[in-house]
Each structure stands twice: as structure tokens, then as C-alpha cells.
């Protein structure tokens, strides 16, 4: 497709804006802002020459109307054919008292934050992504809303994570303190509980919470979109639904999952500490035990597992949603299989990790 050409020239004291080529949505991008600025700045006696425009569709007419609105004075139209004149008249009539093109606040923040983020990601990530098939489809990420997903999957889960972690820490400490006290070994409860939290329970409990809250939500959300033909609508628009819907969700799950695991870890240690203090150990002794029993890489190992669990749960949730069948039960079934699938796969992966870490001596 040929490009739109824009020329701004002076003619006997007045300004002439000439537009040539196809005035359509896909072609207008390079000239839109410049044309609107020129119209706004032009003094009295602006002429707009569209004799060279091969085609004026509604998007082209939208630009011409924007020029008309933003120019303070009168406009002399040159070379505006009969069809475009009709179209513009029709659109002027449809738009109440001129076109008020205010981008809604929600869209502004969402688009611009997302786009600046995207620019950064593409800047750093282009080389990495080039190896995958993503670059051609990167534009389809524009429709996602990663930050909202992170907020719902992560931030909003934190109270639950804190409560579960704290209670589990308390219960574990209390239950193991009773038998270990018989051997006078109850101080080692601090080591036992924190080690199992960092390496196992943090990621696992976090995964259960993610599967229950977020995996099911992904499945229900995408399942509803399938049932409402929204995914079909995306497909017929030529938009890659997988890229637009799945990748941001998977990325959000992967980002959020280590935070959830860490939340369980911290809350669990606090719960355990409370029980130990009730049993009469001073905080310094408890801390000392934790330090001796665990190293930073116990924590990092757990967080690494958490990222993998997050990817699996996100992917399984999206899959379940996108493969939802028809009928009223489809969405419920998708959500169920997302939760069950997410938890089962997490536990299988955890077993696999146990074997691998053992082999590697980690």
C-alpha cells in the first residue's frame, strides 16, 4: 500500500495543507499529528487540498473533521470529491456538536503506561525474543493489561497468603515442638520449620493459592470469552488471541508467584517465631537457629521453583479457558480443570525438582 503524503506550504499569505495517497486508518499514522498541528497553527485562510487522495474512508474523514474542528478559522476545501463530501456531512450530523475527541482517562493511563513498558521490554528483550516467534506477534501484546493482572493475582492475594502462611507456621511449630520436646530438641523446630517453608511449603502453598484464585479466574475469564464468541471475534480481526490473552497472563503468574512464595515464607516464620516465643525461647535463639539451618540459596531455590509453578499454573488456566466448549456448564468446568490441573502439575513438578536437586546435590 502506498503511503500518505502530507505537504504544508504557503500560498499568498495563507497555508495550504495537501494530503495525497490513501486516507485510511492503516496509512494515516505517520501524518496524523503533523496535520492536526498544522491546521491548529495555520492563520486565517487555510486551504486543505485532497485532490491527490485516492481513497477517503471513515478514518480519513475522521482526520479531515479533526482538522476542521481544530482549525480556528474557515477552511477552503480543494479537490474534495462528492463521496467524501457526503461522508463528512453524514459524520458531522452523527457527532453531536462537533467531534469531542477526549481519550478517556482510563485508556490514556493504561495505554501509555503499557506502551512505555512495552518500549522498554522491546528495547531490552528484542534480542532474546528474536529467537522465539514472538516479534512478529509482539503487537498483539498491546491489547493485554499486564499490570492489572499482576495486581489481581498478586497484590490482592497477599492478605490470604499472609494468613495461611502465618497459621501454617504456627501449626507446624506447635505440632513438631511436642514430640521434639521429649528429646530436648525443641529449639531445632525453628530450623525444621524455616527450612521446610523456604524449600517446600512456601512455593507449594503459594501455588495452591495461585491455582485456586488465579488459575481458576484465568480459565473462567477466557472461557467466558470463548462462549461469548469474543475469541472468535479476535481471530476474525486477525488478532492472535493466544499472544494477546495467554502471554500476559502467564507472565503475570510468573512474576507474582515468587512474591506469593516469599509472602508464605515470611508469614510462616513469623507464626513459628510466635509459637517458639510462647514456648519460652528468646528471639535471638530462634534467629540464630534459622541462620544456621538455612542459607540464601534455600530461599532462592524455593523462589526459582515458584517461578516455574507460576508458569505452569498460568498456562494451564489459560488452556482450560481457551478450550472451553459450549453450553452453560463450560465455564465452570474450565475453572475446575484449571484448579485441579494446576495443583496436580505443581506437585508433579515439585517431585521432579526434588529428584533433580538431590542429584545436583543442592
Amino acid at each position: 500500500m502506498t503511503a500518505v503524503r502530507l505537504e504544508v506550504s504557503n500560498e499568498g499569505g495563507g497555508t495550504v495543507i495537501s494530503l495525497a495517497g490513501p486516507l485510511t486508518a492503516t496509512a494515516l499514522a505517520p501524518v496524523w499529528t503533523r496535520a492536526v498541528d498544522a491546521a491548529r497553527r495555520a492563520g486565517d485562510g487555510l486551504a486543505i487540498d485532497v485532490a491527490g487522495a485516492e481513497l477517503v474512508d471513515t478514518s480519513g474523514a475522521a482526520l479531515l473533521l479533526a482538522l476542521e474542528r481544530d482549525h480556528p478559522g474557515r477552511i477552503e476545501w480543494r479537490g474534495l470529491g462528492e463521496k467524501p463530501t457526503q461522508l463528512m456531512a453524514r459524520l458531522r450530523a452523527a457527532v453531536p456538536n462537533g467531534v469531542t475527541a477526549k481519550v478517556p482517562a482510563r485508556t490514556v493511563t493504561r495505554t501509555s503506561v503499557w506502551q512505555t513498558f512495552l518500549i522498554r521490554v522491546t528495547f531490552f528483550g528484542e534480542t532474546i525474543l528474536a529467537t522465539l516467534s514472538l516479534p512478529g506477534k509482539l503487537r498483539f501484546l498491546r491489547g493485554g493489561n499486564f499490570f492489572r493482572l499482576v495486581e489481581r493475582a498478586g497484590t490482592q492475594a497477599m492478605p490470604l497468603v499472609g494468613m495461611m502462611g502465618f497459621l501454617i507456621g504456627m501449626i507446624l511449630a506447635f505440632q513438631s515442638a511436642i514430640p521434639m520436646r521429649q528429646f530436648g530438641a525443641d529449639i531445632y523446630v525453628a530450623a525444621l520449620v524455616s527450612l521446610s517453608l523456604f524449600r517446600e511449603l512456601g512455593p507449594l502453598l503459594g501455588a495452591v493459592i495461585l491455582a485456586g484464585r488465579t488459575g481458576s479466574a484465568f480459565a473462567a475469564e477466557l472461557g467466558t470469552m470463548v462462549v461469548n464468541e469474543e475469541v472468535a471475534a479476535l481471530t476474525t480481526m486477525g488478532i492472535d488471541a493466544e499472544t494477546m490473552l495467554v502471554i500476559p497472563r502467564m507472565a503475570a503468574a510468573m512474576v507474582v508467584m515468587p512474591a506469593l512464595a516469599l509472602g508464605v515464607d515470611i508469614a510462616g516464620v513469623l507464626g513459628m517465631g510466635l509459637v517458639m516465643m510462647i514456648l519460652g525461647f528468646p528471639p535471638s535463639a530462634i534467629l540464630n537457629q534459622i541462620q544456621m539451618a538455612t542459607g540464601p540459596y534455600d530461599l532462592l531455590l524455593g523462589l526459582f521453583k515458584a517461578v516455574v509453578f507460576g508458569a505452569a499454573i498460568g498456562l494451564i488456566g489459560c488452556r482450560a479457558g481457551l478450550t472451553a466448549g459450549g453450553g452453560p456448564r463450560a465455564v465452570g468446568e474450565a475453572a475446575t480443570s484449571a484448579v485441579v490441573g494446576g495443583i496436580v502439575v505443581t506437585i508433579l513438578l515439585d517431585g521432579l525438582f526434588a529428584v533433580i536437586f538431590y542429584r545436583l546435590g543442592l
Binding site: 485510511t24 486508518a25 492503516t26 494515516l28 499514522a29 505517520p30 496524523w32 499529528t33 492536526v36 474512508d57 471513515t58 478514518s59 474523514a61 475522521a62 482526520l63 473533521l65 479533526a66 463521496k83 457526503q86 461522508l87 453524514r90 459524520l91 452523527a94 457527532v95 453531536p96 467531534v99 469531542t100 475527541a101 477526549k102 481519550v103 478517556p104 482510563r106 485508556t107 490514556v108 495505554t111 501509555s112 503487537r139 498483539f140 498491546r142 491489547g143 467466558t224 470469552m225 461469548n228 464468541e229 469474543e230 472468535a232 471475534a233 481471530t235 476474525t236 480481526m237 486477525g238 488478532i239
Partner: protein, 248 residues
Amino acid sequence: MSGAGAPAIVVDHAGQSFGGRVIFEDVSFTVATGEVFVVLGGSGCGKSTLLNQMIGLLTPTKGRITVGGHDVVARVAAVRREIGVMFQSGALFGSMTLLENVMLPLVMFTDLPARARAEIARIKLAMVGLAEAVNLLPSEISGGMAKRAAIARALALDPPILFLDEPSAGLDPITGAGLDRLILDLRATLDCTFVVVTHELQSIFAIADRCVMLDRAARGMIALGEPRDLQQSSTHPTVRAFFNRDAQ
């Protein structure tokens, strides 16, 4: 209409079956550029199925379809640049306002500045009579408005061919007639070819240049032509019964 140009759509002996169950066979017709072509028939006869074949969502089990000169199976990406689709349910994205719904294709396929996208989307919504509703969510609007918004979204990139699946079904007669008027109005302002699925007799007479009638019992098409001609001279009993419903 403009008989000189290449046909917008050619359906050549298309057939569809699902696991051995034949929905229709031997459906053939041509849609001329600029025409309003109606696909009609009782519910369950395969109208949406035929539509899904034409928009490349479903591969015909028999026959061949070209849209805008491109084979819908082999060149589906090219076909999708030529078409806009309004689905039977509207299929608006529930988490987005109407403006954002219409903006989505512009976000995806153009590099227009955000302001320009909003401006274009607003005009499209104004064109379908929703100038005041741009910031509402799909859950906040009526069924008729949802269909209008879906049409605006289908128009987002000014495709030359529009597919509308049951624009007036499930609406009260007044709202339905409003949608018929909208289609006529768009047809007068845009250089578009329309394929409209419907089973409303009034709509057919109001908008159709020509129509094809599918029938479940016949598992295929039972009529093709201008509605007036079919009403007056069809010999097929089902066609006669359908077109002369009001008369009886």
C-alpha cells in the same frame, strides 16, 4: 449493483458436516461488490455455519469459497484484512468500554497516536448512533446498542466486506427496524459489501438486494434471488410459505 467489478464473494459447492452429520451441501452463490446479500433460513439450518466458513473460522468439508478474491482456507490472513464481522451475540469485550472495543483493531494494526485512535473510534460509534455511549461498558447497554457497537467495531478498519450475523434477532421490532435502517444508511455512505444473516421477513424486504435460503430438511439451499421474485414466483413450498407468511 456494480456488476462490472469482480465478485466480492464466491461460494462454490460448499458443504459442511460435523462427524458424519451433514448440515448442508452444494451451496453455491456469488455476492457482487456493493450488494446487500442476505442468508436466510429457519434456526439451525446452518446460517452461522456458512458464515463461519466465509470468515475463515471453519474449513468447509466440501467445496471452495473465495472472499475478496482470496481463498478462505489458503489465504485466511488476507481474507481477514478484507472483512469485518458482527457476531450473533455481539461478542464485545466485556472488560473494555465501547470506545476501547472499537479502538482495539486500531491499536493492533495501526501506529496511530492514541488521540487519533480515540477520534476515529468515536466517529465510528457516532456513525452507528452511539455517540453518547462511548464510555459505557458492554454490561451497561441494551441488546440493540450492543449490536450497534459490534457493527462499529467491525467497521474499525473500514473493511470492504461486512458480515452481520442476525443483527435484528432477539430485539423488539422497533429496535430491529432501527438496525435495518442503520444497515441501509451505512450502505449509502460506505463502499461496502454486506452479507447479512437473518430470518426476519421484514428485514429481508427492507435491506436485501438478493438472498439465499437454506433449509434444514433439504440440507442445502432451496432458493437464490431477489426477495420479490422469490415471493412471487418460487415453486418450492417452503420458500413460498416463508415469503407469504404475512399474506396468510
